[in-house]
Amino acid sequence: MRPRHGGRMTPVPNRALKALGRWALRIAAAAQEPGTPLLFAVFAAAGAGLYIPAAAVNSILGDRFALPFAVSVLPEEALKLGMAWAAAALARRLGDPGKGLAAVAGATGFAAAENLAYLRAFPDASVFLRLGWALPLHVNGTALFALALASRRPGAAAAAALIAAAAFHAAFNAAAAANPAPLAVAGGIAMNLGICAGLAFAARLRFAWGGILDGKPRL
């Protein structure tokens, strides 16, 4: 109990509740702003949820039709392209093309769900190596889609990005199935992380400086 101005006493639990209420209001206000973490959280949850149908489709394609890697990666990439398209549409509506990067959060959720499923099936340290391959792999493809959909010719760019991402994904799947040497695994991780950093750099340039560098600033 502490005295207030008028000499009245305010119980401590009341103050704690008020502080909690203020925090809740702040969080609610932040969530209502466009492009805040709420958007990313929604996309991450959606990506994690999409892992289940993607895994089911992949399983059917692999078991019943014995399709090669090049084909079995297409459902995953198509799902991620769909997420990127949804994020780009939302970003256009919000008037901020940078919000299209929320699709990357979806890919992150997708990769996290996949890695958790692997951890459950193969509970050893290799799951962390797999994380080094799989996480940037999914993120790179989706970031490529987001950049393509924010370009001047989104249709053609997205088609090219889909082919590139699927080919890259299939190559990594094939490499993983070949039980690569530790050095090759480390090289794959480094390459994936390097590409990830490059795409992040390109995304910053595009969404923060794009108009200025194109000579069409939104002043």
């Binding site: 962390f128 940037p136 600033p217």
Partner: protein, 391 residues
């Protein structure tokens, strides 16, 4: 429209700004992730979470890495950086001017002059926001406090999962060390809660429940009891049967170069059980099941609960295999010098050599006169005589 110099200036500004922004995001993420992983380690050390939960949470934590890189930038950040450099809005005017505008050549020339005068300019360093500063401070505080606590409690910094340091945790670690003789942990110091490697790669191993674990611990404790009883019993038998005398130093194989354990030998088996006073205890071999080898008489009292470890961490927890290995390596180094080290690998040829050396030393040869039966001897000589006559 702007000229080539102005365009080059803008590109430099954009690249520097993007690099700085990425580096800031990445640094903040690393700091926060490190703090969160320290909290996870602390939770593991306190026994609040077990390894699967820890690993799952760590995967989720590491999965947030792309979010730091691909966080959408403020769309005004480029404009703000440009205005910080171009205070007279010369470049902005040139950018906004259309190619058909009458003032376009003038603005373009002004932009080029400005770019030439600015030379190599870099964007202003922006201070961290208040929230980011607070987050950095909180993360640094968490890392410092948790690692300080780890040093005090566990005897060293902890990264990754650390098992609970309660007594049952030590028993589990001890039994796990028996099944992983090749792990570096077994040869390490007696720290209480080191980050553990994965126990094994068998998927079913993770599904071990508490009852199975308790059984394993009980088996581990029984094993030590049996080993001690076996050693004492065999030594007592040897004494009662007129074996090696008390003060006599038994033969020790000198040519064993590496680990002296016998791969795949069941627990309490031949090993080097009860080989006399002061003999080096056998190391654990890399055999299947990884059961412990026998110990020497010198280590007879080094059983659980008998003050068997003089190591500094002994008061906090005991590990059979660590003390076992430490004692073995100490004796081996004393006797063979630095040229020989105790290793975990043991080839078949080395095993055969070790076995032959070991059992050769125990062959009992007594030279005695043949004790022949006189009746049998007379019969044999009679038969020989008869055979000679018949021929």
């Amino acid at each position: 429209m702007i000229g080539p110099r102005a365009r080059s200036l803008l590109r430099r500004l954009a690249k520097a700004g993007a690099r700085r922004s990425l580096a800031g995001s990445l640094g903040l993420w690393i700091l926060l992730a490190l703090a969160a992983s320290n909290l996870l380690s602390a939770a593991g050390l306190l026994g609040w979470i077990d390894r699967p939960v820890h690993d799952g949470l760590l995967i989720l934590l590491l999965s947030t890495f792309p979010l730091a890189l691909f966080h959408p930038p403020d769309p005004r950040s480029g404009r703000i950086a440009l205005r910080a450099v171009d205070r007279g809005a010369v470049l902005e005017s040139a950018l906004a001017a259309g190619s058909q505008d009458a003032a376009e050549p003038l603005l373009r020339r002004a932009g080029e002059e400005l770019a030439a005068s600015l030379g190599r300019v870099s964007p202003e360093r922006r201070r961290l926001s208040r929230g980011a500063r607070r987050a950095c401070l909180a993360a640094g505080f968490v890392i410092l406090v948790s690692q300080g606590a780890f040093v005090l409690v566990a005897g060293g910094p902890v990264f990754g999962y650390a098992a609970r340091f309660a007594r049952e945790g030590r028993a589990e670690e001890g039994s796990a060390a028996f099944s992983r003789p090749e792990s570096a942990e077994g040869a390490g110091g007696p720290s209480v809660a080191e980050p553990e490697g994965f126990p094994d790669t068998v998927p079913g191993a993770r599904g071990e429940n508490l009852a199975e674990r308790a059984d394993r611990e009980a088996e581990f404790a029984d094993l030590h009891g049996l080993l001690r009883r076996g050693r004492e019993g065999s030594a007592a038998d040897a004494r009662s049967q007129g074996g090696p005398e008390g003060g006599e130093e038994p033969e020790t194989p000198r040519t064993l170069s590496r680990s002296e354990g016998i791969p795949g030998e069941p627990s309490g088996g031949s090993g080097r059980t009860g080989t006399g006073e002061g003999e080096a205890p056998g190391s654990e071999g890399p055999g299947e099941g990884g059961q412990p080898r026998g110990s020497a008489e010198g280590d007879r009292n080094r059983g659980p609960g008998s003050g068997w470890s003089e190591s500094p961490g002994a008061s906090l927890g005991r590990n059979a295999m660590k003390d076992y290995r430490a004692a073995f390596e100490k004796v081996l180094t004393e006797r063979t010098g630095a040229a020989v080290t105790a290793g975990a690998e043991l080839s078949l040829a080395e095993t055969e050599a070790a076995l032959s050396l070991y059992f050769e030393s125990r062959i009992l040869r007594v030279d005695v006169e043949p004790d022949e039966d006189p009746v049998a001897a007379s019969l044999r000589s009679a038969w020989q005589r008869l055979r000679g006559e018949a021929r």
